[in-house]
């Protein structure tokens, strides 16, 4: 699972995902007491991608957290590869779905190199190279800018090569040049057959939108 994960990407759909993909029916989202969305219905077939749009607080991040198995859902169905999400073991779910959150926390200031080693990933992988992560390898996490930190964890998320990748505002902290780099990398991975659900305010107009209105 190292230098060859870029070539793995060409052989997708990865990890034995059947043609069923993701299907969401009648899902209700809530953040604490607040009701965010009701009766959400959508489906993502293998090789398809969607962007999730809507105003701040509409529940975009909550939806991604629910799909990654981090937040419970009371109403509705979420099926991944034909299996109900809540019945999937965490080890199995993590082979199907990966998630990049908006902010990445850490307690100890590992170096970027140490972070990749802990994940068993090669920093000089094609994905890392295209996002210019290797040049950060000596730096500690406390020494990175917001955009650099986001690129480190975006690389790690993409390198996991899951069938479905959930990205929460992957362009938010990037400058214009890196926005283009990240966008074209994601487009390339979509063309190779990987599925993405991207919560975003801008970009990716070519893929269908799932609109959350909030309230």
């Amino acid at each position: 699972m190292n230098a060859d994960s870029a070539s793995n990407a060409a052989k997708l759909p990865a990890n034995g995902m059947s043609a069923i993909g993701l299907s969401v029916k009648g899902l209700a989202l809530a953040a604490g007491e607040k009701q965010l969305a009701r009766n959400l219905d959508f489906a993502v077939a293998p090789g398809e991608s969607m962007r999730v749009v809507g105003p701040n607080g509409a529940g975009k991040s909550t939806l991604l957290a629910v799909l990654a198995g981090l937040a419970p859902y009371q109403h509705g169905q979420i099926q991944l590869g034909g299996e109900e999400l809540r019945s999937l073991k965490i080890s199995r779910l993590s082979t199907l779905v990966s998630l990049l959150r908006q902010a990445q926390l850490f307690a100890y200031p590992y170096s970027v190199e140490e972070v990749f080693a802990s994940h068993g990933q090669d920093i000089d992988d094609a994905i890392g190279l295209s996002m210019r992560v290797p040049e950060l390898s000596e730096k500690r996490l406390t020494q990175l800018s917001g955009g650099e930190l986001q690129r480190v964890f975006l690389s790690l998320t993409l390198m996991r090569n899951t069938w479905l990748t959930l990205l929460d505002e992957p362009l938010a902290s990037q400058d214009d040049e890196m926005k283009e780099v990240v966008t074209s990398l994601l487009r390339e991975l979509m063309l190779q057959g990987r599925s993405f659900l991207v919560a975003t305010h801008t970009g990716f107009e070519e893929i269908p939108a799932l609109s959350l209105s909030g309230g």
């Binding site: 981090l70 307690a107 100890y108 200031p109």
Partner: protein, 317 residues
């Protein structure tokens, strides 16, 4: 590693009776039977126990700081040491003598008290680092108070029970070595495989879950390992506060942050500090023995401060 061996050699020389050539005495038993028995019956066991117990305490500190992602977590703050002392005290008061009986009682005590700290600091499934430390200090205080209570009730063995709360190798016996060695080696073997998983906890529980880690199971395993390591070390040398806090930080300033790379250096640094601390404790006012904790703290503190100043925790670009 070399530093530990050198310190061990010096520790064998020093004592109420100075032995200039420990290795020669060992190979020529007949030449000086008294010196030979001082070495084999008192000093060598003491050095071996100091190294094993030090390694165990350092490793437990590393596991605590990583599993609970808190740089000030350590066995004597999260309830492990207090629980182990209480378990030992109860076993002694009940008349137990064998090292494995006292060791098992200490492991049970440490396990129960760390588990209590953990369960009381989790709220709605979320572990708060702040709450964990505050609850741990409270739980530790209860354990130490109960240990004192048992000591006061048992005037006969009370003195040796009190020793557990201060830390000392004065009562170290060769019979304790097998129990310590077995549990320390087993704990290392069980820790190695989860070191990368502990690294991922650094990025938050949710992050670890997204990466397929069963966080509850991982923490339960860490708690079990901490209980075993602290149980066997406390039953042999008592509570040595601060060592489990200091050793991982000193190691991080040398080898970085990955748990896999920290395990051995942390254990060896703690072993070295405990060994040097004990050698000072029994030589500074020889033949009177002073509490171990005093010297471990005095030598660890400056090194910890230097280590903290070397690391880049707060440095921004």
């Amino acid at each position: 590693m070399l530093a530990v061996l050198i310190a061990a050699y010096i520790a064998l020389q020093l004592g109420a009776v100075y032995l200039r050539e420990p290795l020669q005495i060992l190979t020529q038993r007949a030449a000086d039977p008294l010196a030979y028995s001082i070495l084999t019956e008192i000093r060598i066991p003491r050095v071996v126990i100091a190294v094993l117990a030090g390694f165990a305490i350092g490793m437990a500190g590393l596991l605590a700081q990583s599993a609970f992602t808190n740089p000030i977590a350590e066995p004597s703050i999260i309830g492990a040491s207090g629980g182990a002392a209480l378990g030992s005290a109860l076993a002694l008061a009940a008349g137990a003598i064998a090292p494995w009986q006292i060791g098992l009682a200490a492991i049970t005590g440490a396990g129960l008290f760390v588990t209590a700290t953990y369960l009381l600091s989790v709220k709605r499934g979320q572990l708060s680092g702040y709450r964990f430390i505050v609850v741990g200090i409270a739980i530790s205080a209860v354990a130490v108070a109960l240990t004192g209570f048992i000591a006061a009730l048992n005037t006969g063995s009370g003195r040796s029970i009190l020793f557990w709360t201060l830390g000392s190798l004065a009562l170290a016996r060769p019979e304790q070595i097998p129990v310590l060695a077995i549990f320390v080696v087993a704990s290392i073997a069980l820790s190695v495989r989860v070191m990368n998983q502990l690294d991922l906890l650094n990025f938050g529980d949710d992050y670890a879950r997204i990466n397929g880690i069963d966080v509850k199971h991982l923490r339960a395993r860490a708690v079990l390992l901490i209980a075993v390591l602290i149980g066997v070390s406390v039953s042999a040398v008592g509570i040595v506060a601060f060592l489990g806090l200091a050793a991982p930080h000193i190691a991080r300033s040398l080898v970085g942050y990955r748990n896999k790379n920290l395990l051995l250096p942390t254990g060896l640094i703690a072993a070295l500090l405990l060994l040097v601390g004990d050698t000072l404790a029994r030589n500074v006012l020889a033949p009177t023995e002073l509490p171990l904790t005093i010297f471990v703290a005095i030598i660890s503190a400056p090194i910890l401060i230097i280590a903290a100043r070397r690391t880049v925790i707060d440095e921004r670009r």
